[in-house]
């Protein structure tokens, strides 16, 4: 069965089309990533699926319930972590957890076993006010609160934004753990490097889907040859490389520039010519989700 089915969903705010005819589905027990920059429509999609907004057109089902007709049923079986930290900063860790349990008519004791691996890490601070926690600990508390009623589907809107690299990797391993327990997770992120941690991902931009598949399959669909080049003067290199025959695209990529080329590209000739630049290095590169994203955006 599919945990989430989205069918031609559209939503506009005034003239701005936040979501434009989006369709996809998420399987039961899947860790599904929604990847795109700010303004891609990720938050709007989350709000539609959590029944906070009503779609302009199209339909969607969460855990078998329709987001318009059965919205109350959906509300009791999903967990939602909005993009902003949405716990009570003036309540303690424990008070927050108890409150959210009561909100769903659940008891902390009954669900403790589910949240334990996460909550255990912040339990030593249970009498501390939530506002006084570090970014990483806040995320853990928010996740515990979103899980306390044992939801079937978990919606996490940019949970790792503003969190440092260590906490981010911890957070993703907690998600992998929850997936093992059979919870369907829809998570959004603006960071392309987090894509590989999902079972399947949807790349989205400006309210539309650019592509949807497993990270592996998506990267494989890149196809065009890709080179990485580097020299002492990166800016000059960029300008020179772009003028070379057969180069469709040249853009900065970390310590390298990535060079997307056509079959007309003569790598040896290129290397010979560029060797005049100081410290020139050239090697074949494996495309990443980010390369694909750029390619899909240009199309």
């Amino acid at each position: 069965m599919e945990a989430i089915v989205i069918d031609n969903l559209s939503k506009s705010y005034g003239k701005v089309k936040a979501l434009d005819n989006v369709s996809f589905s998420v399987r039961n027990g899947e860790l599904f990533g929604l990847i795109g920059p700010d303004g891609a429509g990720k938050t709007t999609l989350f709000r539609l699926l959590t029944t906070l907004l009503t779609p302009d057109s199209g339909s969607a089902k969460v855990a078998g319930w329709d987001v318009v007709d059965d919205y109350l049923a959906i509300r009791s079986c999903v967990g939602y972590m909005p993009g902003t930290f949405s716990l009570y900063q003036d309540l303690t860790v424990e008070e927050n957890l108890n409150f959210f349990a009561a909100l769903f008519g659940a008891s902390v004791r009954d669900s403790y076993e589910l949240v334990e691996p996460i909550y255990k890490q912040i339990e030593p601070f249970k009498n501390r006010r939530a506002g006084k926690l570090s970014g990483g600990m806040k995320q853990k508390l928010a996740l515990s609160c979103a899980l306390i009623h044992r939801p079937k589907v978990l919606f996490l809107d940019e949970p790792t934004t503003g969190v440092d690299a260590v906490s981010r990797s911890e957070f993703w391993s907690m998600l992998a753990d929850l997936k093992q327990r059979g919870i369907t997770i829809l998570v959004s992120t603006p960071y392309m490097d987090e894509a590989s941690l999902c079972d399947r991902i949807a790349l989205c931009n400006e309210g539309r889907l650019l592509g949807l598949d497993s990270p592996h399959q998506l990267v494989a669909s890149f196809q065009s040859p890709l080179w990485a080049i580097r020299a002492k003067n990166m800016y000059a290199l960029l300008e020179v490389a772009r003028r070379f025959e057969g180069v469709t695209e040249c853009y900065p990529f970390g310590e390298f520039h990535h060079l997307v080329v056509t079959d007309a590209f003569d790598a040896e000739k290129f290397a010979r010519q560029m060797n005049r630049c100081d410290d020139f290095v050239m090697c074949e590169a494996h495309p990443t989700i980010e390369d694909l994203f750029i390619k899909l955006m240009k199309r």
Partner: protein
């Protein structure tokens, strides 16, 4: 090219008996893109505030753009540019008004303002947007514009705080290109961020943990040293043992 633009020696900042920044030393050269990394609460913000002339060190010495961080905070502010992702431009002013405002803040003459704003708009292909409200621009445009405005008084150093978070990959590339171009002209770029993929673009990076600089090198050397594939991995190895968080 080897002119030192930022020089820091044994810089320390204490709040009560909490040492936020503990004895850090480093040099940043002209035209360098220097990444200043650290986990939340590592002391990045405190250190950067001292370099921007916003707060005085408890001990140690440092100079930014030729001015002493101990005594010449005001001069430092006149000779640096600053751009943060959170705040940079006024959404309810037009592109042109924002440019004029910041030109005014840095005491540019009327002729200079006119000339530089034309230059700037042309470089960004924004000339047609001069009378558009900044609030109506897409995020990526706003960020490019605010970077350009941070450079309007041609400062020696520009401080960037998480400049490209949340922007689509394409705009992000354009942004880095703009940074490369600016650095190429001799401006030093000082980037604070906790997104490691931004670190990959820097010529050198320092990583702060618990108020100290734990690593300082080019991303390439750091990755080799830690046998890591990405800066993200490097960072995790170094910051894993952090005792402090915000």
């Amino acid at each position: 090219m080897n002119e030192v633009v930022i020089s820091v020696r044994n810089l320390t900042k204490c709040f009560g008996n909490f040492t936020a920044v503990n004895n850090i030393s480093f040099d940043v050269l002209r035209g360098e893109i220097f990444g200043f990394l650290g986990a939340n609460g590592a002391g990045k913000t405190t250190a950067m505030r001292m370099l921007c002339g916003l707060s005085f060190p408890t001990s140690g010495s440092g100079s930014v753009a030729g001015f002493d961080v101990m005594k010449e905070g005001e001069q430092i502010k006149q000779h640096i540019g600053y751009m943060s992702q959170r705040f940079s431009l006024y959404n309810d002013l037009t592109v042109g008004e924002n440019i004029q405002l910041f030109a005014g803040i840095y005491n540019l003459s009327k002729a200079q303002t006119e000339q530089r704003s034309c230059q700037l708009l042309e470089r960004l292909n924004f000339s047609s947007e001069r009378n558009t409200l900044v609030g109506a621009l897409p995020l990526g445009w706003k960020q490019k514009l605010s970077f350009a405005i941070a450079n309007i008084h041609e400062p020696k150093v520009v401080f960037l705080d998480e400049p490209t978070g949340g922007v689509d990959p394409l705009t992000r590339r354009q942004f880095w290109e703009l940074i490369y171009e600016t650095a190429e002209k001799g401006t030093t770029i000082f980037v604070t961020t906790h997104y490691m993929d931004e670190a990959e673009y820097c010529s050198r990076v320092s990583i702060m943990v618990d108020g100290e600089v734990r690593a300082l090198d080019t991303p390439r050397n750091l990755k080799r040293e830690f046998a890591a594939e990405s800066m993200d991995e490097v960072f995790r190895v170094i910051a894993r043992g952090a005792k402090r968080c915000d």
